[in-house]
């Protein structure tokens, strides 16, 4: 389920092009790019904790949709991701 035929997926994290292997989660792509995911309600930078959709720490904005759990979503071509580290 969900496997792509491409060898590399290009997506945009905070407007920067990132290339990752197909099947990777958005959380992995974000963290491989050296970024954290979200700002906590008191402004702390947070990144994935549980890796399995439970903790909601890895929330990012994906293609304009807020609060997506990046560990539960696979990267796709042209996807635009916005993290706490966006400029």
């Amino acid at each position: 389920m969900g496997t792509e035929t491409r060898e590399v997926i290009e997506l945009f994290i905070d407007e920067r092009s990132v290339r990752v292997a197909p099947g990777a989660s958005v959380a992995a792509a974000v963290m491989n790019a050296g970024k954290a995911c979200r700002a906590s309600v008191t402004g702390e930078r947070r990144a994935a904790l549980c890796g399995m959709g439970v903790c909601f720490e890895c929330r990012v904005e994906i293609d304009g949709v807020l609060h997506e759990r990046s560990c539960m979503i696979e990267v796709s071509e042209g996807m635009r991701v916005r993290t706490v580290d966006a400029g």
Binding site: V41, V65, L66, H67
Partner: protein, 374 residues
Amino acid sequence: MSTKHDAIVIGLGIVGCACAWALSRRGLRVLAVGDAPIGGGATAAGMGHVAIMDDSEAQFRLTARSSELWMALRDELPSEAAVDYCGTLWVAADEEELNAAKGKHAFYQKRGVRTEVLDETSIAEAEPNLRSGLAGGLRIIDDSIVYPPVVCEWMLAEVVRRGGAVRFAHVTGATRTRVQLDGGDVIDAGVVVLAGGDVSARLCAWLPVRPRKGHLVITDRYPGFCRHELVELGYLKNAHSHAAESVAFNLQPRPTGQMLLGSSRQYGVEHEEVEARMVAWVIERAKLYMPRIGSLRVVRAWTGFRAATPDSLPIIGGRDGVDEPVIATGHEGLGLTTSLGTAELIAAILTGAPTPLDAAAYSASRDFGGHDGH
């Protein structure tokens, strides 16, 4: 146990807490008693709005006085009480409702309440996520929202600080001067006040108070999605109707950026489970006004029971010659708003302290006949 309490207040919701707090401020030693946790019933379940309402003159006076009292208290409350003067925006879908809004505006203006009529353009500017083509609305500028459980906790802490006490216990019986607890304990006091919300009739069987179930849902954080507490003017028809079930669009922006959506009203449902069809109905109603709300993510849904009376006014005060507690219940959806006015009135009745409110309108001895709701 000897009479060491000047007053016992039964019920740890916002009305009970406010009564205990107001009495202790006037020098009484108060025991607040009820089921734990503090503010855990309708108080926690409600939306927490302080709204000046105009359904009747009596309702207006109580809500307007209460609003003044909330305004006076705002700087004393802890920051976690999350007071926010976002204002209420009554939304008029069509010309008929806009005319109703204008009528309300005149009513409020005459009584010194700051309001503003919005036309089609200005309501779209005020709330960009409302659908286009709405006729307008009415803004009640000084309406606010509060996080009630924190206020309850703060009030009871004040009670304790002034020599009073709080006791978590299930009350099984009460007279004008005595309370009986589950387990057999009996406590005497100068006077007993019953503020048990929708379950008050358990201790005072004649009370014409019925539970009216409501559903609410709250979203993740979407700061700015709406700015005022939004209420459809059709709400009035629903709130006043004694139909078994109704919903109305009511959206509130919490200071956290979360959107709190209501509201439903149901009679005759005793269980507190979240009903999927009621939630769906509330959301469908909201989408008629805010189509984009459908994509917002709900993080929780819950229910609560309002204490509804046949004439939609609370019952405040004691009946002469009857050995039962002084009553403070029946606030339906306005318990948070009217808790302070109610407490002031209870204090006036019991201590002779001044109040601009006229007790007769909310009297326990008033005629409820012929309004049993069905």
